[in-house]
Amino acid sequence: MGVALRTIAAIGGGYGLASLSTQALAITLPMAPADAVVTGTLTGLVVYPCAVMWCFAAATVTRACLGLAACCAVPALVILVHQSAAVAA
């Protein structure tokens, strides 16, 4: 059971984190748009396996999920701030 939950968190949650990180970097990095997109995506590809390893390294399933959620909150916040700033401007 623990393994199944960790696997779901790793595959689904890890992808979510990778995708959010990619997006956050792509919209905020101060470079040419294409460069920012490429940098973000290259980083996302590293974030994903690290997230998977975290999910299996954490002591308990709860800790694995909480850690993942905390990591997701950072890029999600960046995206929200950036979007609201764009609306305000």
């Binding site: 623990g2 393994v3 990778a18 995708s19 959010l20 990619t22 997006q23 970097l25 792509a26 919209i27 470079m31 040419a32 748009p33 294409a34 460069d35 920012a36 997109v37 490429v38 940098t39 973000g40 995506t41 290259l42 996302g44 590809l45 590293v46 994903y48 396996p49 690290c50 998977v52 390893m53 299996f56 390294a57 954490a58 002591a59 995206i79």
Partner: protein, 536 residues
């Protein structure tokens, strides 16, 4: 289950590696073969072995191809030309076929695009003769596509499956590094004839020795398709049109609408010379002609590979009617875009000279061996537990399934690959649907081997399949000489290195497989820990 970082990572390494190992072996084997994609294609067209086309200048080759395509592809919206280089003596031309007349009418609403097969031809740069029709085959392109598209399914599905497996592989490599205690020492450690210990040593040696390569090739492999796997960045910055992103990424003229007014296409030869002189003499590799014969035609020329690591080569676009230069031939892209270009280039390795290419090939073989020893080790480790539980020589369903999958995916594939080459030579040269028939032979051989492997996952079956595959590989030079190709005596004497190399590599692989089969005939090397598959 979690007992410390090293243990949890060992567990992750085992399972993220095992569950995708069988597909990874196919991906690794197909990718390794793809380093010699051009050579394989040439070998599979024995009629061309001795007929090296006369050397002509790139400009003359482009002019000749233009004449051929004007006849072969009238009304085509786009031509793609690959000019001759050291590995490819002919011009490779592909084109999008003309739209049916009904859809082309004045003011006709753009209809839903139907998929049309590309036209293609292999053109002798000196005479303009079509060299491709001598013997229709997918050649090395089959392994190249198999490597990331798989087969008998849509390319999209294949790419997602391969992407999932690659990411799993990346996790397996990273967790393998964490769990590994003595990276440097294991470099030099091999203890043969000791059952599970020997498998572990072999796995460590092949994995650690080529570790930079494995990490590089797995990560850069994901990079080649990363905008499909992780589209959130592209979608958020280029919300409406991802075409605009690819234009920023690759340069080029972007979308040009046809003017609907006919205008003769400028001669390609002079454009090739002008681009080459703008690049201080670097040769032109590829030409894309957009809307040939239309007043809005453009011609984009890209530099030949081999002048640097990157896959994003300098390109320049000309107006296709007046010949005016439309883009800056020396334009540099941003740092990140260039980084991606280098990673892409590293993965496909087209920059490499023969020696580096051979090293890449050897590293690819090490990758195959790493995957194979990894999945076999799981079975070897598991066996004593089963012996204890079910009695000596009897095993449970899970282990039996893994045994069968190991046998079918490793020995079966190594049997199917030479069958593909044999089918290429034994099927009639002029038969219809020839490429499909060759591919069908490949998969039939593999399917039979797989069914046999699942039914009898035993040591004699390993011996049989490895022995058969080895014999077919080892006899490839004989087959080549007997069916119209340049045999080893000819190819070595006349310096046709691509063909000689293919024959010798097949011979070497065949001898290795035969040796493995012979070793398996001996009694189990270690009585207490029998090798994989001995418990039939």
């Amino acid at each position: 289950m979690m007992g410390g970082l090293r243990l949890s990572m060992a567990w992750l390494h085992t399972w993220s590696g095992l569950l995708v190992g069988w597909i990874l072996f196919l991906v690794f084997a197909g990718g390794t073969a793809s380093y010699f994609r051009d050579e394989i294609t040439l070998w599979m067209k024995p009629e061309l072995h001795r007929a090296a086309p006369a050397q002509v200048t790139q400009a003359a080759a482009a002019d000749r191809a233009q004449q051929v395509l004007a006849q072969r592809a009238p009304g085509s919206p786009r031509w793609y030309l690959a000019l001759p280089d050291e590995r490819n003596p002919a011009v490779k031309a592909d084109w999008i076929p003309a739209r049916p007349a009904a859809a082309r009418g004045e003011g006709a609403a753009p209809k839903k695009r139907t998929r049309r097969a590309f036209g293609s031809a292999t053109i002798d740069p000196a005479t303009g003769a079509d060299l491709g029709k001598v013997r229709d085959t997918r050649g090395g392109d089959f392994f190249f596509r198999l490597h990331f598209d798989l087969h008998y399914m849509s390319a999209l599905w294949g790419r997602w499956i391969v992407g999932f497996c690659s990411m799993s592989m990346l996790v397996a490599i990273l967790s393998g590094i964490v769990t590994h205690k003595r990276i440097f020492k294991d470099f030099f450690t091999f203890r043969p004839g000791k059952g599970q210990r020997s498998w572990l040593d072999a796995h460590n040696a092949t994995a650690v020795l080529a570790l930079p390569y494995h990490l590089m090739i797995t990560y850069t492999g994901l990079v080649t398709l990363m905008f499909m796997y992780l589209p959130s960045g592209v979608n958020s910055v280029y919300p409406e049109r991802s075409a605009a992103f690819y234009q920023d990424l690759n340069g080029g003229p972007g979308d040009v609408k046809p003017a609907g007014v006919a205008a003769p296409l400028a001669a390609l030869g002079p454009l090739v010379e002008r681009a080459s002189s703008a690049w201080h003499g670097a040769a032109v590799g590829r030409i894309v002609v957009n809307l040939p014969g239309d007043a809005n035609a453009t011609v984009t020329l890209t530099q030949q590979e081999g002048h640097g690591l990157t896959h994003d080569l300098p390109s320049v676009t000309f107006n296709g009617v007046t010949g005016a230069m439309l883009t800056d031939p020396g334009k540099q892209s941003g740092a990140a875009v260039q980084t991606r270009g280098v990673m892409y280039g590293l993965h496909v390795g087209r920059f490499a000279d023969p020696l580096v290419r051979a090293l890449f090939f050897l590293s690819g073989l090490a990758g195959c061996a790493m995957v194979a020893t990894g999945v076999l080790m799981w079975a070897v480790k598991e066996r004593p537990k089963h012996n204890k539980k079910h009695g000596m020589g009897r095993i449970g369903f899970g282990l039996r399934l893994v045994d069968g999958l190991n046998l079918g995916s490793i020995a079966g594939l190594l049997l199917a690959m030479p069958v593909f080459f044999w089918a290429n030579r034994l099927l009639p040269a002029a038969m219809a649907q020839r490429p499909e028939a060759e591919i069908a032979w490949f998969f039939m051989a593999w399917a039979v081997a797989f069914v046999a492997a699942l039914a009898w996952p035993s040591r004699p079956m390993w011996r049989l399949q490895l022995g058969l595959g080895g014999a077919l590989f080892a006899l490839v030079p004989v087959l080549n000489a007997a069916t119209g190709g340049a045999g080893l005596a000819t190819s070595l004497a006349e310096g046709i290195w691509a063909i000689a190399g293919f024959d010798l590599v097949c011979l070497g692989l065949g001898l290795m497989l035969l040796y493995a089969a012979a070793r398996l005939r001996m009694a189990p090397l270690v009585k207490k820990l029998p090798l994989a598959g001995s418990a039939a």
